[in-house]
């Protein structure tokens, strides 16, 4: 089962943001979308969610999303936005429960509590969302998204997590926590597509990387195929050096090594 984008093009006014992007992600894996600011990562994700007008088709598990209604889509994929400004003073618990109001989540009173515990916010239920820090708010939203697609596979059909910079406002401990949640979701058969800025976390957790540049796919494949000095330097600008740890050979990139 796959998540497929074919010939995705997006134009804002006269400016073309995406040029015929082809994209495939597999269930059971984390697919990371990386690239410099303005390369079209988030726009691509928004096109995948049908949030913005776009050309091309998006297929989830083989179904064209243009033929699905909102309620149906909500049962097979959940979307974590970069940040959410809440209009009214809902509590943390109420925000997470919003996911259960959708038909996607089977009503199970215990899920929101378990999801909050999973993102390290056990006991925060009664707190007001607006009183939390940005990173805590982001984790509340992740808990809400997790509740929406709690079981990664339903009747043999994988569900999808679409994450827009899920670790951007988090400390290193919570970054690892969130990436491990994503990894666990994928390991249990679900699909994860994440827009990422942190190349090291991407190298650690992603099974596949799509490198964007100027609205096009510059490179795609396994981390070891995409993360090399030439490809990354061409995409990001400064001459970057990809290093590997002596123990297990996993890749890392230090800003110090940039020329």
């Amino acid at each position: 089962m796959t998540f497929e984008g074919q010939g995705i093009s997006v134009t804002f006014g006269r400016r073309r943001i995406l040029f015929d992007v082809d994209f495939t992600a597999s269930a059971g894996a984390i697919t990371a979308i990386v690239g410099p600011n303005g390369s079209g990562k988030t726009t691509l994700l928004r096109a995948f969610c049908d949030e913005i007008p776009h050309d091309g088709t998006v297929r989830i598990n083989g179904r064209n999303i243009a033929t699905c209604d909102a309620a149906e889509l909500a049962t097979i994929r959940a979307v974590l936005p970069q940040s959410v400004m809440l209009a009214f003073p809902f509590t943390v618990s109420e925000v997470v429960h919003l996911a259960q109001a959708s038909r996607a989540a089977r009503p199970c009173a215990d899920l929101p509590r378990r999801a909050l515990a999973a993102v390290g916010l056990a006991g925060y239920g009664a707190r007001r969302y607006q009183d939390l820090s940005g990173g805590e708010q982001q984790r509340v939203q992740l808990a809400r998204v997790l509740v929406q697609v709690w079981e990664p596979v339903v009747y043999g059909v994988p569900r999808w997590l679409l994450l827009d910079e899920p670790v951007a406002s988090l400390d290193i401990g919570h970054q690892l926590m969130v990436m491990r949640l994503a990894q666990d979701f994928a390991a249990r058969g679900g699909g994860v597509i994440a827009v990422m800025h942190d190349l090291n976390l991407t190298a650690m957790f992603a099974d596949k990387v799509v490198l964007m540049r100027l609205g096009r796919v510059a490179a795609a494949g396994r981390v070891s195929d995409v993360f090399n000095d030439d490809t990354l330097s061409a995409a990001y600008g400064p001459a970057l050096r990809v290093n590997s740890t002596p123990t297990d050979g996993s890749l890392f990139i230090l800003p110090h090594s940039a020329a």
């Binding site: 109001a101 239920g125 929406q148």
Partner: protein, 356 residues
């Protein structure tokens, strides 16, 4: 740790059950206010003695019968429906615009109704006799109702492109349309004679004194349909608090939600304003007070708003009737005098929490 986590699960149910208990209290308050509204008035008719008479099988004096059945009861019923309509419309619009300060005035319903009323008052006299005769005393309410619907349909069409309604456009276009209708009203005020100006002024200040069974029978069903449709908006409005895109990702048909919300507000406010004129502050103050008391969940906010709005308008109408009896204050003055300070107090109390 486990006790803390167990507490988590109960939190949401705590607020919800608190809201339900509050709803029960509000229902009792409504019954008290309705009884008070039936019992009080300029005439010396006593509800208590009338009830004793009825229980003992005596017939009421014709005067008392008329006062209770033809004046106080329709007026009380009308106040309940109008108050509920204004409060629920306010709550729905605030949810739709994701802004706690939104009210029906923002989407042109009130100003459109006002223009309709002014057209009827000023130009009604020059209508062909047959048409004027047909509408009779209901010309002003009919014109006000049409005016509110015309403005909201225009507004909806302006802000909908390619099947998508932009709430931001609606807000801004609402201001523009408000200015246009104000200009039209101003022009007609300039043309009006003294008697018409007086009628106009009173209409704008609002009053329930024109409540007859006939008007109740026309306005109440429209408002009732809108009120009964409003609970179906609750889930969508809750999700909309996250933003339009996240609500859609949760499976909410956002465009249908917007259309339905606009229809509910247009029906409820249009009918309410048509029969009662311009009554302010109920739509803003009631949802606010309820959010402070029991949280912003629309599942309980909307029904509680209907109950509290009805009670508040009954209270305001009772005051309007007795403060300078046997004359009457326009009810819009009473709601403004009561509502504005409460509103300011809320702003000052919760300044840091207010999310605009």
């Amino acid at each position: 740790m486990t006790t803390v986590m167990a507490a988590d699960a109960d939190v949401i149910h705590d607020r919800r059950s608190r809201a339900r208990r509050l709803g029960l209290l509000l229902a009792m308050l409504l019954i008290c206010m309705a009884t008070a509204s039936l019992a009080m008035g300029a005439a010396g008719t006593s509800l208590w003695y009338a009830l004793i008479d009825l229980v003992q099988g005596r017939t009421l004096a014709p005067v008392d019968h008329a006062v209770l059945w033809q004046i106080r009861l329709p007026r009380t019923v009308m106040a309940i429906f109008v108050g509920a309509a204004l409060a629920v419309s306010g709550a729905v619009l605030q949810g739709l615009f994701r802004n706690p300060l939104a009210d029906p005035g923002l989407v042109g319903v009130s100003s459109g109704a006002g223009l309709g009323a002014i057209v009827a008052i000023v130009l009604g006299a020059s209508l062909p006799a047959g048409l004027a005769g047909l509408a009779g005393p209901h010309l002003v309410p009919l014109a006000a109702f049409s005016g509110s619907w015309i403005t909201i349909i225009v507004l909806y069409r302006i802000s909908t492109r390619g099947g998508q309604t932009s709430v931001a456009t609606m807000l801004l276009a609402g201001i523009a349309i408000g200015a246009i209708t104000a200009a039209g009203s101003g022009l007609l005020i300039y043309l009006a004679d003294d008697q018409q100006l007086r009628d106009l002024n009173f209409w704008q200040l609002g009053s329930l004194s024109g409540s007859t069974w006939q008007r109740v029978m026309v306005a109440a069903p429209i408002i009732l349909v809108a009120l009964m449709a409003s609970p179906f908006l609750a889930r969508g409005l809750n999700a909309l608090a996250l933003g339009e895109a996240p609500a859609a990702h949760l499976g909410i048909p956002v465009q249908r939600l917007k259309t339905m919300a606009v229809l509910v507000v247009a029906a409820a406010t249009g009918a309410a304003v048509a029969v009662s004129g311009g009554i302010g502050f109920v739509g803003i103050v009631v949802p606010h007070l309820l959010r402070l008391a029991s949280g912003p969940d629309h599942n309980t906010l909307l029904p509680n708003a209907a109950l509290l709005g009805a009670s508040l308008l009954l209270a305001a109408d009772i005051l309007a009737r007795i403060v300078i009896a046997p004359a009457e204050l326009p009810i819009g003055i009473v709601t403004a005098i009561l509502g504005a300070p409460v509103f300011l107090w809320i702003l000052l109390q919760r300044r840091k929490d207010l999310v605009l």
